[in-house]
Amino acid sequence: MEIKVLGPGCANCHKMEELAKTAVKELGIDATIEKISDIREIMKYTMSTPGLVVNGKLKHSGKPLPGPEKVKELIKSEVQSQCRNC
């Protein structure tokens, strides 16, 4: 699984990254977390940062940040749809 955190480097973007890391750890799934700060790359997905992209799909953008449980949910929904495919 591929997770991207979109943000030019403001406080909320760091928080988003931490949330994603914690969620992955707690879910015990195999995932890479990449921090995207290049504006061109961010703009492919959204105009409102911070953003959370899971497997190329935009799951969250803008303020306020989702809570830890919500982040887990967002990532989990992608895990499940993957399994349905296999």
Binding site: G7, P8, C10, A11, N12, C13, I39, R40, I42, M43, K44, Y45, T46, M47, S48, T49, L58, S61, G62, K63, P64
Partner: protein, 316 residues
């Protein structure tokens, strides 16, 4: 009902004597705190529901079909409801320009968004009455429209960093579909988030009103920036430009200045300068704007805000 509750707390629970100064102050404090937090919760919630219908992607689409002037008015109005934080200013700016939103219209949006919002309006309403709130909102929108129009007329597209025009995001950005339940949940979540960030400033502001009320001597501030001084407005604006705060953060200062006897126009101009122009935002915008355009932007905003300040000092 709120009034009775405040009286009950002051005289029956805390048991302060009737008519004493601390009792008056406390009653005023409890009443105002309750009133403002109730107003804030309800209005932020309602605005959040409306806001969930206007993600930046949609605003961009609406504005890309608009001509100047009408576009500026729409942009200023949409600035009230579209969620925006200064760290999103750059992607937002690029997104708008790329979608064909005229430069001046984009500026109208960027100006109105941090300056005119529900938090500012509710706080002014709760502390100074609906007239001041309406005046602030009306003139805030006016400043955004005028400054945007002027920037549009000056044809300053050449002072936008070249790479902005080269970015092509394609049609990748999608609007996430939401049910009404999602919107309500978002509104609840957003209300809690905003209240968490602003409650302390509000308590401080009401505290100033409740406890310093009447005690504050007319000191040097009034001598230098009071109604008699014709330069009060430019001085207040010059002080406000480098200061950085959101609407809630500046409210305690605004209250203190009003208490000290500064004219309403001077104080509102100060508040606009603080919320609309700030050094950190300039640094962020420098990524997409050349220094010349930033200078023009700050110049036009400063002049417009000063004009608004004088206007209100003259008619109020």
């Amino acid at each position: 009902m709120l009034k009775e509750f405040a009286q009950h707390l002051t005289y029956d629970v805390i048991k302060l004597g009737h008519g004493s100064r601390p009792a008056d102050a406390l009653e005023f404090f409890i009443y105002d705190t309750l009133k403002i937090f109730l107003l804030l919760s309800v209005i932020i919630f309602v605005v959040s529901v409306i806001r969930s219908h206007f993600p930046p992607e949609k605003t961009k689409k609406i504005l890309s079909h608009k001509k100047e002037f009408i576009g500026n008015i729409f942009a200023a109005l949409l600035g009230i409801v579209t969620p925006f934080c200064s760290c999103s200013a750059v992607p937002l700016f690029i997104g708008f320009i790329e979608a064909g939103v005229p430069l001046g219209v984009t500026f109208s949006f960027l100006i109105s968004s941090p300056m005119v919002n529900e938090v500012a309006v509710v706080l002014l309403w709760g502390l100074f009455g609906w007239k001041i709130a309406a005046i602030y909102m009306g003139t805030g929108l006016l400043v955004a429209v005028i400054a945007g129009l002027v920037i549009g007329k000056l044809k300053l597209e050449k002072w936008v960093e070249e790479y902005v025009y080269k970015i092509n995001t394609g049609q990748g950005q999608e609007i996430v579909k939401q049910s009404f339940r999602d919107r309500l949940r978002y509104a609840q979540w957003n209300t809690a988030d905003i209240l968490k960030r602003v409650w302390l400033y509000i308590i401080v502001a009401i505290g100033i009103g409740g406890f310093i009320h009447g005690y504050v001597p007319q000191d040097f501030l009034v001598r230098y920036a009071g109604p008699q001084n014709p330069f009060a407005v430019p001085v207040a604006v010059a002080l406000g430009v480098p200061l950085y705060s959101n609407a809630a953060g500046v409210i305690p200062i605004v209250y203190a200045l009003m208490e000290k006897g500064l004219s309403t126009g001077t104080v509102l101009a100060f508040m606009m300068a603080v919320t609309a122009l700030s050094l950190p935002e300039m640094i962020i915008l420098r990524k997409v704007l050349k220094v010349q355009l930033l200078g023009v932007f700050v110049g036009i905003m400063t002049v417009t805000i000063i004009a608004v300040g004088y206007l209100f000092n003259a008619i109020l």
